[in-house]
């Protein structure tokens, strides 16, 4: 008898959940009411149209799914959705117009203390913060298009913002026009891949204290100051593209106090500075392409034990510049297009070492205006003389095994 009751109960429960799983919302209906009326595990289907919403609070596992991108309009009032739950799915909605306040960091969706949540295939337009997560884990943020149209940095928050989260997957998102495209602080053990982050006010990617993360095949393009990452160890960055970050303090990537990391197979193209490093140690840079940057590398004297191996340097105005004299980093087997040595024994390695630090780059470092004279005959002469009799450029910064031909990384 008892068993039967349990069986019936289970049947009922299942039947109930399957039956009530789909709640269909019509435009104009209150989302909060629908959320409150739903039971954990329910699915709220948004019919096409416009919904207005502000601070919709979700505290139970729910799926919110839009059909044909229904618009959820925050009417410039604070946050649109607030989530503090597990197993929440938000898919296929178009969020527009959050509040524009730095006081409460208004966001299209804000997650607190959540777990196993998924945000995918959404469109976010003119949000202050786009997706804002704190103190959460196992998040999947996929295929969202986050776009803001602010003109000044303080008028907008970050596109995808995570604070104190772990075990996350951030993939295939497009973020543009925000302050930072992706912002991570105390985020660990996560993977960001194939995101397209471009045209943000400040940084494309900005993280701090975010250890053990992997960044794969992302593109960071034309962001105000490129990418800046700080105070982190064990980072893997592979096959990303850092492109067209132009400005007096714009970097393909700025590494500050990063250690024990790998930067492999990335492309740094047309950045004012490809990589700017300070206080960073034990990073392996391999198989990267540095192409047409103002400075491929700016290596501050506070960096040590880094290895640059088998990278291509071509079409950069300056390959490397540094501010100190002793440089405890290793360069080997790189291809330098400015290398003018020869290879008599035909082992594809140049027979004379290459010094990637150009005298004039040191002058430019001191007096930026002097870049105007770059490539003049006068300056070329100066450089030639320095190449023959190095007096000013650091002796240790040297590639003893420069490649004769560029690597083909495909």
């Amino acid at each position: 008898m008892n068993r039967l009751i349990i069986f019936i109960l289970i049947l009922t429960f299942r039947g109930f959940s399957a039956e009530a799983a789909k709640i269909i919302l019509k435009p104009g209906q209150s989302i909060q009411a629908a959320v409150d009326g739903a039971v954990a595990g329910d699915t709220l289907i948004f019919s096409p149209g416009v919904y207005t919403a502000s601070a919709v609070t979700i505290r139970k596992p729910l799926s919110l799914i839009g059909e044909n991108y229904p618009v959820v309009d925050g009417e410039n009032k604070g946050n649109i959705f607030l989530v503090a739950a597990e197993n929440v799915l938000v898919r296929g909605l178009k969020f527009i117009r959050t509040g524009k306040s730095n006081m409460d960091d208004s966001a299209a969706i804000k997650f607190f203390d959540s777990k196993n949540c998924t945000v995918e295939n959404n469109i976010l337009e003119d949000a202050f913060f786009g997706l804002h997560f704190s103190n959460s884990s196992k998040l999947t943020i996929r295929n969202n298009k986050v776009k803001a149209s602010a003109t000044r940095e303080f008028e907008v928050g970050n596109g995808i913002h995570l604070w104190k989260c772990k075990d996350n997957l951030i993939e295939k998102n497009e973020v543009s026009g925000h302050r930072d495209g992706i912002y991570l602080e105390f985020v660990t053990n996560s993977l960001a891949k194939e995101n397209l982050i471009q045209g943000n006010m400040r940084y494309g990617l900005h993280f701090m204290f975010s250890h053990d993360n992997t960044y794969l095949r992302n593109t960071f393009k034309r962001n105000g100051a490129g990418v800046a990452v700080m105070y982190t160890k064990n980072v893997t960055m592979q096959e990303n593209r850092f492109e067209e970050n132009w400005g007096s303090s714009a970097y393909g990537i700025l590494l500050k106090d990063i250690s024990d990391s790998k930067v492999i197979g990335n492309i740094f193209r047309k950045n004012t500075v490809g990589i700017y490093m300070e206080g960073s140690s034990r990073i392996q840079f391999k198989e990267n392409n540095f192409k047409e940057n103002g400075w491929a590398l700016k290596l501050m004297a506070s960096c040590d034990q880094n290895l640059f191996q088998a990278n291509n340097f071509s079409g950069n105005t300056f390959d490397i510049s540094t501010n100190g004299n002793t440089v405890l980093n290793e360069l080997k087997e790189n291809y330098w297009d400015k290398y003018e040595g020869y290879d008599l024994n035909r082992d594809k390695i140049g027979d004379v070492p290459y010094r990637p630090i150009n005298l004039y780059s040191m002058i430019v470092e001191k007096i930026p205006a002097s870049v105007m004279l770059w490539r003049s005959f006068m300056v070329t002469l100066l450089d030639r003389m320095e190449k023959i009799l190095p007096t000013m450029t650091p002796n240790e910064m040297i590639d003893h095994s420069p490649k004769m031909r560029p690597y083909d990384f495909g």
């Binding site: 004012t272 079409g315 070329t380």
Partner: protein, 255 residues
């Protein structure tokens, strides 16, 4: 004028110099294309050669040409044609020849193996620098009556603009390193046609580094069309100014 130019071109385009110069430029371009891995390296190498040699050759050739043709110019002056037309036909013939040599010598390899914006800029800068230095040469030629002296002046101008001037600017920059110098440097660069040509190339090849400048003015100067516009405008003045002066002197000169 065009009739005179036509005949002057008949002569100059068939000269041994025109052929040698074109072949020389083509050989340089071909060998650079052969050893370079990508186009930006090609335009870099070509630019180094161009900035230095094209003004030199334009200056020396134009002076020599003027003096070699001096008696003929005199004969033309005894004909019922205007002096200005005689002058312009000679000048244009020289400029057209030098330009055609560059366009063919550098341009044909580009057609064969491809070109990008910087290489096209290079062609344009080459043509402009040829005209500027042909102008200097004609000016030097009409101001003196001695071929050696005129070549001396042309060479001096070439050395000054290619080497000495930049040295002076560098010295100024170095001496006043503690002051904001961007605008001064930019203004100084405008006073040298070779530097202007170089800056136009820099805007193609080193825009990433140039954008490292602080200050909105420079960001705008280098990133927008404004910089190119100003540089091209200044170059045009450089093209017209010596030629115009030379023409004025030619008009009043005794032969």
């Amino acid at each position: 004028m065009f009739k005179l130019l036509k005949y002057a071109l008949y002569d100059i385009l068939k000269s041994r110099f025109a052929i040698i110069y074109t072949v020389f430029l083509a050989l340089v371009a071909i060998s650079i294309y052969q050893v370079s891995d990508d186009l930006s390296k090609v335009s870099l190498s070509l630019m180094n050669i161009m900035i230095l040699f094209i003004p030199l050759i334009a200056a020396v050739f134009a002076t020599t040409h003027f003096y070699n043709n001096l008696e003929f110019i005199e004969l033309m002056l005894a004909q019922p044609v205007k002096r200005i037309h005689v002058f312009l036909s000679q000048l244009f013939a020289v400029v057209i020849m030098l330009s055609l040599s560059i366009l063919l010598g550098f341009g044909l390899p580009m057609l064969l193996w491809g070109a990008d914006g910087s290489l096209l800029t290079l062609l344009a800068v080459g043509v402009v620098l040829s005209s500027v230095f042909a102008g200097f040469a004609f000016l030097a030629s009409v101001l003196t009556r001695d071929k050696a002296k005129a070549i001396g002046i042309s060479l001096a101008l070439w050395i000054y603009f290619s080497l000495v001037y930049d040295g002076l600017v560098l010295y100024v920059i170095y001496s006043f390193a503690d002051y904001p110098l961007e605008k001064t440097t930019l203004a100084l660069v405008m006073l040298n046609p070779v530097d202007l040509g170089r800056i136009l190339m820099l805007m193609q090849l080193d825009i990433s580094a140039l954008m490292g400048y602080t200050g909105a003015f420079f960001q705008q100067f280098f990133s927008s069309g404004l910089g190119i516009l100003i540089a091209v405008g200044a170059l045009l003045i450089w093209m017209l100014f010596p030629n115009f002066l030379a023409m004025r002197v030619f008009k009043k000169r005794d032969f």
